[in-house]
Structures are given as C-alpha cells and as structure tokens.
C-alpha cells in the first residue's frame, strides 16, 4: 500500500490538489455570484443550484480547454520544433517522428511493449498519436462545453440588463466568448514559452523538468 502510494505520489498529489482547488473555486464562485444577485435586488441562491449553473460550468470549462490546448500544442509541436539548450526539447537534428527502431514499434517492439506498438495499421497509428489526440479531444470537448455553458451564462446577464439573449452561433462571434477564450490561451502560451526558455539558463536540482545543475546552458534534451 505504502509502496503504491509512493510510486504514484505525483499523480495522486496533483489529483488531490485539483479537487481541493475545485471545491475552493466552487465556494468562491458561489459567494461572488450571490454578491451580484443581492446587488441586483435578488435573493442569494444555494450552493447546489450554483454548482449546476451555467456560470460555474463556463468558469470551469474555460480554464480546462486552455490547459488541454496547451498540452496538445506542446506534444505535437515538440515533435517538429526544437529549442537549443532546453531540457523540454529534443536535440537539434532529431526533429520528426523518428525511426521505428528508436520508437520501439513493429518488429522493434520489445516483450514489454504495449501490444498495439507491435501491431500494424490503425492500432499502431492510434497508439503512436494517442497522447496528443486525447489532449486534442479533451480540448475540443472543453471548448465546446465552455461555449454552451457560456452562452447560457451570457444570456442570463443579458436578461439581467434587459437585453436580448443570443443564439449559440451568435455567441461564438461575441466579444465575451473570445475574451474568455483568449485570456486563457495567452497565459498558457506564456507559461510554456517561459518554461522552454528559462529552463535553458535556470536549474532545479533533482527535477526531471530541469537539466542537471552542472549541465552547460547549450545542452539540449538533457533531463536531471
């Protein structure tokens, strides 16, 4: 049991932190929503009703979509683009899908390789791109959720202001939708660019996200 916990600590801790922060967001969002309700001369709503509201769903989904977009882009772009000196990058000259031998697929699969790595055709293609594809699908699903919950939340505000509600298609052209979307995208792209570039010159001893402390600044694709 203790070994299992230790061996999976990273995933477990992040999963737990996610749940704690999501609950905290729910309480903060509920308080914020009720402040606006009272300011508009209405009654506060219960936590349960808030958790099933479009407002909460839109706030959650708009952040999820940008996170999955970040990983989707990072996974695919690092196949083809390199950053000299970054431990996040492959070495210059290694761009591309690499050989079957390097990727241990087909006849180069080992005994403990996933069975789909040994198989050919669609199964191998799916496994070979599964990480990026799932991130991409989660991005699309989250963005779609943001748009659907977002139009309902937006229309609730429209009615509060005695304005006409809009359709989903019209909402996709509204500044509200793109402001929510782009403010998340820019922060994710900044975070990735910061990681790629700062990790050239800075170190974190013991972290696989960093080069070993003594590695030269121009060492690429070396993880500590």
């Amino acid at each position: 049991m203790r070994t299992a916990l230790r061996d999976n600590a990273l995933g477990l801790v992040f999963g737990l932190l996610f749940l704690i922060v999501l609950v905290a967001q729910a309480f903060a969002g509920h308080a914020d929503f009720n402040q606006q309700q009272v300011a508009a001369g209405m009654e506060p709503i219960g936590l349960g009703r808030y958790l099933t509201s479009a407002s909460f769903a839109a706030d959650v989904a708009e952040n999820w979509q940008s996170e999955y977009l970040q990983f989707f882009l990072y996974i695919f772009l690092t196949v083809w683009l390199v950053q000299k000196g970054s431990p996040e990058s492959k070495k210059p000259g290694e761009q591309g899908l690499e050989s079957d031998r390097e990727q241990k697929v087909g006849s180069f699969a080992t005994d403990d390789s996933p069975s789909w790595a040994r198989a050919g055709g669609l199964r191998r293609t799916l496994l070979s791109n599964s990480l990026g594809l799932v991130m991409g699908l989660l991005f699309v699903a989250s963005w779609l959720t943001q748009s659907i919950a977002g139009v309902a939340a937006y229309n609730e505000e429209q009615l509060r202001d005695l304005q006409e509600p809009v359709t989903w298609a019209r909402y996709l052209t509204e500044p509200d939708f793109w402001n929510r979307t782009l403010q998340n995208w820019q922060s994710e792209l900044l975070a990735v660019a910061s990681m790629v570039i700062l990790s050239i010159y800075l170190r974190q001893r013991g972290s696989p996200e960093s080069k070993p402390v003594g590695s030269p600044h121009d060492a690429t694709g070396v993880e500590g």
Binding site: Q37, M42, I45, A54, A152, E156, L159, L162, Q163, E164
Partner: protein, 132 residues
C-alpha cells in the same frame, strides 16, 4: 453480443438525466410564462393588488405608491394566447404578441422584474415598468 451491464446502466442514467434536464427547462419556462401571464392579466382585469404581488420587490419599490393604483395607470396590454418563454439561470424573458416581460427567480417563484418592454436593437429594452 449484448452490451455489458455497466454500459447499459450508464446509458439509462444518461437518458434519465437528459430527460430530467429537458423537463426541468420546460417546467421552468412554463412557470415563468404563467407568472408573466398572471401579472398582465391582473393589470387587464384591474386587479392592482394581484399585479403588484407578482412584481419583484425592487420593481414594486420603483412604482409610485400606492402600487395597486399606479400599476393600473401603465399602458400594459393583456397577454396574448400564445407566448415565447426563454429561461437562463435565474432569469427569464417572456414575449407576448404585444409585450415583453422580464422575470427573475425568488424563493416563492418567478416574479416580474420589468414589463411593457419594447426592443431598442443592441441597447436594453425600454420598459414602462422596471426595477433598479
């Protein structure tokens, strides 16, 4: 080969939740329309106390006292037989043939926030009766 039991259970639960969601939206729209209709009909019938009882507190507070008399002076048309009701969260909009009514949810149900409203394009509706 039949679907595994958990898949069938998940499909059943999904269907129940979706139907419950549709029923909930339909019921809320219907309730909002009923509240708007009750208000406009009370004004048309000259029943000031009933009309004022259907208003949101802030809207009622904005009407010259006594509300039961002043509300009847507003040029509000009687509700048409059919209406289009749309609900988003705590707010609803009900469009009758000759009037548009805005409502909000309170602990005892839907109440009228604004009535006698005419559209002004991108700008807010211009309403004969409205809250703060």
């Amino acid at each position: 080969m039949g679907k595994p039991r958990f898949v069938r259970l998940a499909m059943l639960l999904t269907t129940v939740v979706m139907l419950a969601g549709c029923a909930s939206v339909g019921e809320r729209s219907s309730a909002a329309e009923d509240a708007a209709r009750l208000f406009l009909q009370a004004v048309a019938d000259g029943d000031g106390p009933a009309a004022c009882g259907a208003l949101a507190p802030e809207t009622e507070a904005r009407i010259d006292a006594p509300c039961a008399e002043s509300i009847l002076d507003e040029a509000l048309p009687a509700p048409s037989a059919t209406a289009d009701a749309r609900v988003y969260g705590q707010r609803a909009l009900v469009k009758f043939d000759a009037d548009t009514v805005f409502l909000a949810v309170f602990p005892d149900g839907w109440r009228v926030v604004a009535a006698g409203c005419t559209p002004r394009g991108e700008r807010p509706y211009d309403c004969a009766v409205q809250g703060g």
